[in-house]
Assembly symmetry: C2
Amino acid sequence: MDTRSIGVFDSGLGGLTAVRQLRRLMPSENIIYFGDTARVPYGNRSRETLLQYARQDMRFLSSFDLKAVVIACGTVSTNCLEELRAESGVPVTGVVEPAVERAAALTRSGKIGLAATRASVASGAYERAFRRLDPALEVHALACPLFVPLVEEGRCRPGDTVIETVAAEYLAPLKEVGVDTLVLGCTHYPLLAEVIGGVMGPEVSLVDVGAEAARACRDLLAAADALANRGEGSVRFYTSDRAVNFRRLAALFLGEEAAGAVEQVDIFQY
Amino acid sequence: MDTRSIGVFDSGLGGLTAVRQLRRLMPSENIIYFGDTARVPYGNRSRETLLQYARQDMRFLSSFDLKAVVIACGTVSTNCLEELRAESGVPVTGVVEPAVERAAALTRSGKIGLAATRASVASGAYERAFRRLDPALEVHALACPLFVPLVEEGRCRPGDTVIETVAAEYLAPLKEVGVDTLVLGCTHYPLLAEVIGGVMGPEVSLVDVGAEAARACRDLLAAADALANRGEGSVRFYTSDRAVNFRRLAALFLGEEAAGAVEQVDIFQY
């Protein structure tokens, strides 16, 4: 038993969809969440800039006594995982490997789609991970740069012409090649599950990368006998910009009221 | 005659629409452009964070020998102009005052609309400037947070369902109150002039804030006898992220090939 906290970070608040899954799987754990709202979004930035930002995010989280870190940002996971892992004193879980394992287990046709940010697709990280697992898998990666701004504006529900038009357009090539499994490679995308499921059809399995990362983190802590077996855990929230819109967006991503205080961090000091 | 350069900055590349107007009005001038592409967009950030970023942007520009600065960012102009002006050694032109003068001259009904980012609307800067000029003017301000991401993805042309749906939805309240003049309060928005004009109708005058800021800068230099009267001037481009997508976006905003090298700046050092 280990009562230290789990650190989680994302470019913004999308990573709270992973926090939701961590809390569902491990309600006893304390969680420290950092969202880099002063520099969100990460999805179009270069690898060099991403690494600089991610290192600062990690250094801030490392100021707490942690037993594990979950990178709840698809773009950082695909571009910076190796460096962050090498530099971290505690186990680091990214979103790629757990999602790849799940998708490989789910597919029957061997044709897998990936919807992600531009930087995630450019990294080739999913293709490499699939190839390591099974070189016979056919992976079709697709950048969906408007999904994040649309979700952040709350345009994620079926019936909204804007998100439905964008989703149908982005996903058309994946429908055409006939993937039977689609990795939603960004922690904002679970909010689009209904819209994306509507476009792809019920026969296509969707993989939520945040949920898979939460599962992987739970397995890792369980194997090390490091789960906190006690009452209800807590979540502490930190953001790099003023927490003006925090409540509205946090409730959206977390699926519950974000209880507790939100503190602002000067991330440029890290 | 003063052959020093004019400094121009924006959160990203939208400010190049102002550079286009500066070059049209003053083809002899040398221009130094900085786009903070590592931290774009600014439009949803808090005033504190904006001021921190804008001061770094100004400090970088101040490393050149300048005769004037144009803040080609609506969000910085509305939130930080006073501080930047007080701290600058050269005249600083923001987008608010020139646009307000033009809109007040154009309106016949006295009902003026403003479309801008969330942070610009929240600042109340346009309302204050209109009130100083003529307290009888009726100003209707509207945040249009999806305009910037849509323009950056090239979704700015008539016939595109997504931008047309978003524009019609955002602008409906302004149509309803019957404004006859609409200030496009962000340097990305000139690319939406056709779409916005289509929604508002031909009887509504559109005010391009970048073009008005360029005009104000020209007037200011002319009054100080500080125009560069010589051959063709040059533009030097600097960005804070790697210049991967620079050419594509720059051509879009500048309306011409962006000639010359683009250099990357470590803005966090300023």
